[in-house]
Amino acid sequence: MTDSSSKTACTVAIIGSGPAGVGAALALHKAGIDDVVILERDQEAGGVPRHCGHPPFGLREYHRILAGPSYAARNIQAITEAGIRLLTGHTVTRLGKGGSLDLVTSQGARTIAAQRVLLATGTRETPRAARFVSGGRPLGILNTGALQAMIYLKGMIPFRSPLVVGTELVSFSALWTCKKAGIRPVVMIDEEKKTGVSRLVAMSHRYMGVPMLLGVEIINIQGRDRVESVTIRDGNGAIREFACDGVLFTGRFVPEASLARLGDLCLDPATGCPAVDSEGRCSDPAYFAAGNLVHAPVRVAGQCYRSGVQAGLAIARDLGGRVHEKDCPIPPDRRKRT
């Protein structure tokens, strides 16, 4: 925690210290909105890039290629240098009408009344359960996020020879993470008949010595304490069993929109993202949302940062600030937001 003041009002509260939250905070700062606070529920700020130990991060923001943890550290350094308040270990538990936030901290519960709130809570992968995957529930079933956090933050290995589910960009990132940690995936599978990436990226599984099977479905996960094997069925009905000690479910990102869902903000039923207008404003005009919370499909860190910057500028304008494009720490993307 970098601040333990019990101040109960602020101009803008930003929930989440990942790339979108940081981009927004810096944009607000440049636009002269100085009473900004970033609320981070984790003990360490920086968001998901903290545990993506691979490049490339930071090209747009810092004009160099960084690995995720250095990129996250740079972001937080920029926040600190700008003198923006950043409160870690602060969990927002409820979004009240008009920007009134209920928080829990180890020092006790508190409320913050913010004139505007930016939701920048990011995205996460769909876990096994919500995919309705058949089989038992032994130890060793996890998402890429958990794998990378274990390896890059804790130096721990959850399995040695997992079966990897998914062929999105993150799935190949997971293969790199495995390679780095000495983990040897037995096979990479997808229910879809096509991968979710370019052919060039898709080729990399060969380089990594991991066979890929498309159009196959898991029909059982076996193992008493830890995963022992996975049985799959292909499009022709043929059944194969792979010995493995884990199952890694990658991708199928869903917005971390629980606060919005449990609050009274409208969600887009198709994506589960908070519904926002062209300025990034939610159904309650005190709330804005940015970054991967509103991106479907998910985007890379630099794009989330830019989305945060745009939301920050929109909030500044909304608050009556005089905002010029040059106030923006990086040039806003001219393409239309989708």
């Binding site: 829990v104 992968e125 359960a129 529930r137 998402n143 721990m156 959850p158």
Partner: protein, 463 residues
């Protein structure tokens, strides 16, 4: 042959029945040891049930099950506050969705009343929708059972056993009972941990009850026919959609598929009833989960916008016949409480009294404790203050379920420390929320390093 424990009574099996029996016999003055074959209690049938505190309105009239459910319901409400156990006073509705079902409601009502549940009443569609405005208007009628409640299925048995332990009882995990000899006054039980000497044995081994009888007595008078039930758990956003437990009009075989709020603030649909050979294969199947989710949405249309949090299956110890299978062997100082299925969570407290009565008939005599210690278990219920609402909790480790590092540390220590992730989940809810460990697995692996029999990490990067 080394005797590792010498007690008045050995209780075989750390499910809800074994835990309740350990509590009752300890309170009645017996020295007890509970023998559990797994690394933690609640590893069999008791790890996956519907968590409903039943009134017994639909129990077979006049049976031991009916008596024990009613006694259990009563005692739970008497003791829950002192033990720190929650009750969500939901009430239930037996809802009819077709004309045939509607016609059978009169039977349900009559049976309930003859079972002594006198506060049942018939509701028409308008009354139902007034109480449950999100329920599908295709509902036709229902019987309202005001005193069917939702409880915490894991904290309750944990509290029962802790009360036994706090008052001198003992528990041995990893202690599967494989054989035994009776010399006319004492048993020598062979377990995975060593030999246990005791005067009486209560077999509460649930899914393995028949196997324990066979291994020790040489025969069993019932056979466990495992029956799997799959469940789908919806996100906490669904909890505001419904107040009551929505029960189907019962068939002979099973209570059927239920839609109900959980004490943890989720909404659940299940269970199925699938006979299988395996006593421990609690796997889920996609087609069944799809079917359950569809059933849920048919009853509660707004569920269609609610994400699924979890899926799981439980296995209930059915037998060839529906009644509880009680075996009383006075000559051998042995009692088997077998075939306790879905009503077991409620009935366990009543069964514990029954076991005590049978022991007395067998000649056992104990002096009840005068001022027993009453331990309190941590609250995990969503509607009551959780640990995070008290300052000084350290950090929130599991953000979805708001589990603190203080709670985790407490669960990893004490009289019955969690020695597996499953055990820690039951004691704290960690990783049981919507992200299923995406955010907290790494921190959890670190916090539980060297604590679990099967660790979360299989190695370190630099080893």
């Amino acid at each position: 042959m080394q005797i590792i424990s010498e007690r008045d009574v050995a209780i075989v099996g750390g499910g809800v029945v074994g835990c309740a029996v350990a509590r009752r016999l300890t309170l009645e003055g017996a020295s007890t040891v509970l023998l559990e074959k797994a690394t933690d209690i609640l590893d069999g049938a008791s790890k996956g049930n519907s968590a409903i505190l039943h009134t017994g309105f639909d129990a077979p009239p006049g049976t031991l099950e009916w008596q024990c459910v009613q006694a259990g319901h009563r005692e739970y409400l008497e003791i829950h506050e002192s033990l720190g156990l929650p009750v969500l006073r939901t009430g239930a509705m037996v809802a009819a969705w077709s004309k045939e079902e509607e016609e059978r409601l009169a039977e349900v009502l009559a049976k309930g009343r003859s079972n002594g549940v006198d506060d049942l009443r018939l509701l028409g569609r308008d009354q139902i929708l007034e109480m449950e405005p999100h329920l599908s208007p295709s509902v036709r009628a229902a019987i309202h059972i005001p005193r069917e409640y939702v409880i915490d299925p894991w904290s309750a048995p944990l509290a029962y056993l802790l009360q036994s332990l706090e008052n001198g009882g003992e528990v041995l995990c990893d202690a599967e009972v494989t054989a035994g000899e009776f010399d006319g006054s004492h048993w020598l039980l062979q377990t995975g941990r060593g030999t246990v000497r005791c005067r009486y044995v209560i077999n509460c081994a649930g899914l393995y009850g028949d196997l324990v009888d066979k291994a020790v007595l040489g025969d069993a008078d019932f056979t466990i026919l495992p029956r799997k039930g799959q469940f789908v758990v919806f996100d906490k956003a669904a909890a505001s959609l419904i107040n009551s437990i929505i029960l189907p009009v019962p068939s002979r075989r099973t209570k059927g598929i239920v839609l109900f709020p959980t004490i943890f603030g989720n909404m659940m649909v299940g269970p199925t009833a699938e006979d299988q050979e395996s006593r421990d294969d609690a796997s889920v199947e996609r087609a069944t989960l799809d079917m359950l989710a569809e059933k849920g949405k048919a009853m509660l249309p707004d569920l269609k916008n609610i994400p699924v949090t979890a899926t799981y299956a439980g296995i209930r110890p059915a037998t060839e016949a529906s009644p509880y299978r009680i075996r009383n062997e006075p000559d051998r100082h042995w009692i088997t409480l077998g075939g306790i299925r879905s009503t077991g969570l409620t009935a366990a407290l009543g069964l514990a009294w029954h076991a005590h009565a049978l022991l007395r008939e067998q000649g056992a005599s104990f002096t009840p404790l005068e001022n027993p210690v009453v331990p309190r278990v941590p609250n995990l219920a969503e509607h009551l203050p959780r640990d995070f609402s008290r300052p000084g909790f350290g950090e929130i480790v599991c953000h979805c379920e708001m589990v603190t590092s203080r709670e985790i540390t407490a669960a990893l220590t004490g009289k019955l420390p969690a020695r597996s992730l499953a055990a820690l989940k039951r004691r704290t809810r960690v990783t049981m929320g919507r992200c299923q460990g995406f955010y907290c697995s790494a921190r959890l692996a670190e916090l539980t390093r060297a604590k679990f029999a099967t660790p979360l990490g299989v190695g370190e990067i630099n080893d």
